[in-house]
Each structure stands twice: as C-alpha cells, then as structure tokens.
Subunit: 449 residues, 2 copies
Amino acid sequence: MQTQTSHNDHSGSDARQSAPLSATLLTIGDELSRGEIIDSNAAFLGSELTALGVYVRKRIGCNDRLEDIVAALDDAARSGSLIFASGGLGPTSDDLTVDAVSAWLGVSPVQEPVHEERMRRRFAERNFAITPNNLRQVRIPAGATVLSNRTGAAPGFSVEKNGVRAFFMPGVPREMKPMFSEQAVPLLSAVLPQTVTVRRIYRTLGLGESHVDHRLADLLSSTEAQRHAQQVSVTIHYRLAFPEVLVTLVASGADATRLDEALAVLDVEVRRRLGHALYGTGEDELSAVVGKALLARGQTLATAESCTGGMIGQTLTAVPGSSAYYLGGVVAYDNSVKRGVLGVSEATLQEHGAVSEACVRQMAESVRTLLGATYGVSVSGIAGPGGGTPDKPVGTVWLAASSPERTLCRLIQWPGDREQVRKIATAAALNLVHKLMFPERLSDPALRL
Amino acid sequence: MQTQTSHNDHSGSDARQSAPLSATLLTIGDELSRGEIIDSNAAFLGSELTALGVYVRKRIGCNDRLEDIVAALDDAARSGSLIFASGGLGPTSDDLTVDAVSAWLGVSPVQEPVHEERMRRRFAERNFAITPNNLRQVRIPAGATVLSNRTGAAPGFSVEKNGVRAFFMPGVPREMKPMFSEQAVPLLSAVLPQTVTVRRIYRTLGLGESHVDHRLADLLSSTEAQRHAQQVSVTIHYRLAFPEVLVTLVASGADATRLDEALAVLDVEVRRRLGHALYGTGEDELSAVVGKALLARGQTLATAESCTGGMIGQTLTAVPGSSAYYLGGVVAYDNSVKRGVLGVSEATLQEHGAVSEACVRQMAESVRTLLGATYGVSVSGIAGPGGGTPDKPVGTVWLAASSPERTLCRLIQWPGDREQVRKIATAAALNLVHKLMFPERLSDPALRL
C-alpha cells in the first residue's frame, strides 16, 4: 500500500511532529498473535484517533502473559502520552489485563461495584450461580476510573501513570467501539487538540494511483489554494481500494470559519484536477452512488453476468433499499444460458465468441428488455486462471451498458488473478452505467475504465 | 472470539514456553496506524508461523519514519531470535525500510541487480522511462540475502544481526504471501524445530461455536485417543468463519510414524463427534466442496436468488473451473422477475408472499428446468434493515434445493445485520444442495442449517 502525504509548506512543521498528542495502541491476546483473528480493533482506534487529531505513533500486540503486558505498557508509555488498549478483560484465567495493569501501577485489583451488581442481578434473574471466574471480569485496578460497558459484562477503565493516560477496553469489537466513543472520548476532551479536524473523501475510478497522485501533487502550492491552506493544516492521503483510488483530504485549524473557507477552495481545485475520474465523495461506494442516481430519476437496472457470476448483483444488493431500483438479472455463466435465456444468437457465439462486443451488446440489450428495466448492463470475460488464448488472454473483459437510446460497449484488459479480474469487471460495469447516466464522464480519454 | 486450547497433559509443558523459537512481527506503514487498512499481514504471518512451530511473542506496528523503524527493530530483536517485517519497500520517498535496515546494520543500500534488470527490461518493453523513484525500490541493504519477488517489483531480503535473523517483505499481501512461503520458509528450515507439525482443518456448518466445542471438549481424554495423543503434542483451536465453525487440530512430535498413527485415531474420533455438521476438511470452502461433488458426478447446478442478489452465484464462480458444473441462474430481486422469468404464480405471491415455502419451491424447480441443470437452488428472504413484519421479521429466509427426484425446502430465522443474513442464506443454500447430494447429512436434528 502506497501512501503519499503532502504537507502545507507554510504550516512550518510536519503534522506528525507538531501534533501535541501521540498515542500507542496496544492489542492483547494470543489469538491475535496466532493469526486466528485479524486485529480490526487497532484499525478502528487508529482511524478514530486520527480523526480526533491524535497521532498514532506505534502499535503493539502482546500475548496474554502478565510480564509481557507490563513490558508493553512500559514501552507504550515511552512512545506517547496516551495508550489505548483492548483485550484480556474476559472471565478466564487467560485474561490477565487487570492483573498486569495493577502490577504496573503497584496497586491491587478491586471489584467494580456497579458492574458486579448488574452481573449478580442478571444471574439471579436466570437462576444461574455466579462462579469466581464470572466475578474476575468485574474487577478493575484500585483507583482506576471506570469505563462503563453498555454491551457486555466486563467494565473498562482508565488509569494515569507519570503523565501518561491509558485506556483499557474489552477485545470484543461490539463492546470496545461504543466504550471508546461514549466513555473514553469524553474523558479525552480536556486533552484533545483545540482544533477542528475535517476529513473529506474523494472517490476515483479509471486512473492509477500514481496518476491520481500526479494530478494532485502540487495542489497545496497552487496560488489560491495555498493562500487558504496557510490558515489551516492540510494533508492529502491516497489509498488504493482496488480498483478504486480514494483521496482523503484532512484539514485542521483553530478557526472553523477559516477552515470551511479553505476547504471550499480546495474542494473546487481537487474536483477540477480529478475531472471525470471522480465519481463521488464520502462513504458511498460506486454501487450506492449509481443506486442513488437511479432512485433520484425513478429508473431501474438489470444485469447480465458471465465471468462475474453474480458479483455485480451482489454488490448492488449489498446496499439497503436497492430493491427500489435494481430489478435483478441473469447469470449467464454457461453459453447455453446466454443463448436460451438471453437470446444471444448462435452466429454471434460461433463468429465472435462469448467474450466479444457483439455478445455483451446482445446480453445487455436483452436483459434490459426481458426484465423491463431502464438500463441493462452486461459482462463477459476471461477471469482465469484457465481459458486464455493468444487473442484473448486472461483479463480480457467485454462490457456493455444499454439504455432506451443507446448501448455503450467497452473492452478492458487487466492482467491479474481471478479475483482481481472479477472485481475490476464489476467496478467497470457499474462505472459504465454511471457514465451512461452522466455522459459528460465519457469525455476524458485518460480514464482506463 | 472464543478459543479453547487443550494441551496433552503428558507433554509436560506449555507450548509457549517450550518452543525454542520466538518471533516478532513488524508491520510498517502510516496507513496502518491511521486505520486506513487492517493489518491482515500480521494475521497471515502469525498463523503460518504458529503452524511451523514458531511462537509469535510480539507484534509491533510502526510508521514510515526511519528512527521509529530502527527503534522497532532493536525492540523486536530483544523479544526473540526471528523478525518478520512487511511494508515500506515501495517506490516513494515514504518507503524507508531499506534505509532503516541499512542504518540498523551500519551498511549502505545497494541496487539488487536481478530485480533491477527485470524492471529495466519491462519498462523498455513498454517504452516507459525509468525514474529514480522506480530504482529506489530495487535496493537492498549491502550483504543482505535477496528474497525474490515473483508477483511485484520490489525484492525482499533477509539479514542477520547478533544472532537475530530478520526477514523484510513487501506490504502488499499478494507479494508478501508467496515471498514468505516460497523464499523465507526454505531459508528458515535449518533453524525450525526438528519436530513434525501437522495441521488438520475440519469444516462444520449448522452448530454454534459452543456446541462444536462441547462435542470435542474431552476429545483428548477419551481412552483410545489419549493413548495415542500421549505420543504427540496436540492442541485444538476453534475459529468462527461466519457462519461456519472451523476446528483446527495441530499435532506435533519428533516421530512422524507415531504422529500419523495418533492423527488417524483422532481423525476417526473427531469425525464421529462432529457427525453431519462436518461438511469437509482442509482448505476447500463449501462452494468448492459442492463443486467437486458435482464435478465427480458430472452434474450441474443453477441458482435463483432473491435477497442474496447474486451472492450464491458469485461464491460458486469464485472457484476456478466452476464453469464445468455451474450453468448460471436468475437474480429475481424484484417480484416481476420471479413472475416473468421464473414463472412464480401470482397466486403464490398473493397468498404466501415472496418469502415463503411455495415461492422458493417454484423458484428452485423453475430455474432447474429453465437452465436444464441437474439441481436448482433458490433463496428468498428479508435481509433488512427494512422490510420486516411481525410474521416475517428481518432474518427470515426460505430456501429450496431441487433435484429430478425431489425438492427440499428450509426456513431459517437468523437475527443479524444485512450482510450476516445474506451470508448465512448463501451458506445455507449451498449446504442444502450438498445435503440433497448426500442425504445422510439430513439425519442430524441438532443442525440448524
């Protein structure tokens, strides 16, 4: 993953160094080290803290061993003034975080009365006996500030040692996330930077990461943008979410009005430079952007898929409410289905093959008519690893999008593995529908999709 | 995530302490700290190293700053005799791993001739000019052992300092994984534990994690299994890959013959206890298991999907070679498609609704006939978040699987979010086809799917 960060030259310092607060993330648990689960907690905390203006300098993962947890805390305390830890607060003898933090502070674990009372009440209601293990998980280190657990049994807690503030939360994401947002963040507000931070996401398709980077490279030094950017600290981040490239503009400053003004100018400039590679902004993925456009016009879509095997329909229907504009489609994986259900002619299949302009044109037009949709979109390609020929190597994909007025066809050739070819074919198909709806997007010859 | 580990009592020690080799994982990149991507590399390396008998003691994540990478290497070297690092080998000025390792070792970076020559050749073929940035990424620290990169431009490398061996690999998973398996592991073989370690995966569907755990809980203390297990060290791990529960048996011992004998006995016992919840073993997911069974019988499958919107087809066609048995299907998302293409009767939709036994029965039988397949499978349900009623709440899904002889229908009710409901519906649909092919699997009343 390649990430380029551009800083405003006139802010006088790198945001990393100027950030008043550095944090270390600590994720505790053998199952993480054995790779049985992926550490999604660190990603959640990293993303949230970055948005709050906290610089995450280090991530540490350690196992459920008391001395390793204590060593990790000492290490984390050297890297910054904040520690955010998750894991090891459960009921079993493997869960040692309370004991380790108590040892680190030189205090004893004590029962936390509110969570203990709640646990006793719930067990009584179900006529269950409480075991010593159950009671283990309602302990906290003596003197710690409780972080209430709304979605689980074990309390979290916050402690301070030598000016370092540390937060300890459960490892289960559905307990950790609300505890962080509702309990830890309010406690942090006194120490958080007194700046406003805004994050804007620009979503592009059809340009490589290096081309997107090139188009935005000197954004912050262009005259008008610069004049405004001087009032705020701005960084640009690039992220490849194959096959899309996402651009994130992170801006912060003490004055909210100036921040808004600077962002408005930068926004115009970013849009101008990205041109028709830009298909949307914010959290909405391509499928949701296409869906909202269809919904706004009261139009509908049908799909005819060969090599994607249902991925386009699956992607469209992952969006809640998609039944308002997506009618359905035909997965024409075998040529018999292309012929029998979609009426692709035997002549087309014989003369041009299933991976051809003639075939996808017939597929898109046919599924549009068959389902009575405003638009039909189709894909036929060679996803590999087998099936390639010198003429049509693996990665050759034909696409078509059809409206009552016209049918657009496109050829893409993308050397890659089966999963990549199918993903790019799905994105290219949805993008072609979007271009059919917004024909001005067809005008950029630099776009590859 | 709940993980229970059972150790052979007679092995005399915890695997953590007896393992001769400890490793630290190091993942490098600002984008990880900012939470823009989840650290899947650490999970992959943790899982692979655990299987090789290496104890992963610590995970460190650091940003693309030279001094932080050097400090992390010093730290990692204190935690064990092996370091596995990924990230920071790209072409941009942010990619500092080669410089940091060179500084750590006190050597200079040098060009790696094989990867440089390959890069020059590829650029020449495309008439591209090579930039200094391109050449940056074919450097390695002087004296390092090259790890060849089969799927990307940048070489990895391995170095040794004060008895600690460190491996540096790209951050892109599709480059890192083959480099680890094909380049790093062979270099490790001299230092790996001289025991044979075997890992067996048992794949189950239809039982909750706690029920699978309960069925296997005393596996290692049952008489005959125990007699054999004493000769080897055996652990059992459970992992929820929603909605499947995977059981991994990890066995190791110095004597390969004894290990095989013990595993044969344990295998019989595990299969007996898991019963018909077990649908397969090894790496093959349910879609591949169903596919191989179809292929072996020369039979074919067609799909009719409503709430899954193409997910069943997409899952089936993710398997290379699936065109030999999967013909395709109809995504009947809107009721007009259920009527118009699949011939579901207006009476059925009026009297029973689209989410009903009658509807999925007609969908499965119709798609089987329409596409001329041996089997038809169908799904219609309420994935949410909207659309639920008191009678049919969100999570209500009807499924059917049809053969020339009969049609099986099933109702599942799974409270969960949209993604979960669609995933469980897809797994349940494929499982129902598998049960139709292997009717003995229909006999276990404890199975929920």
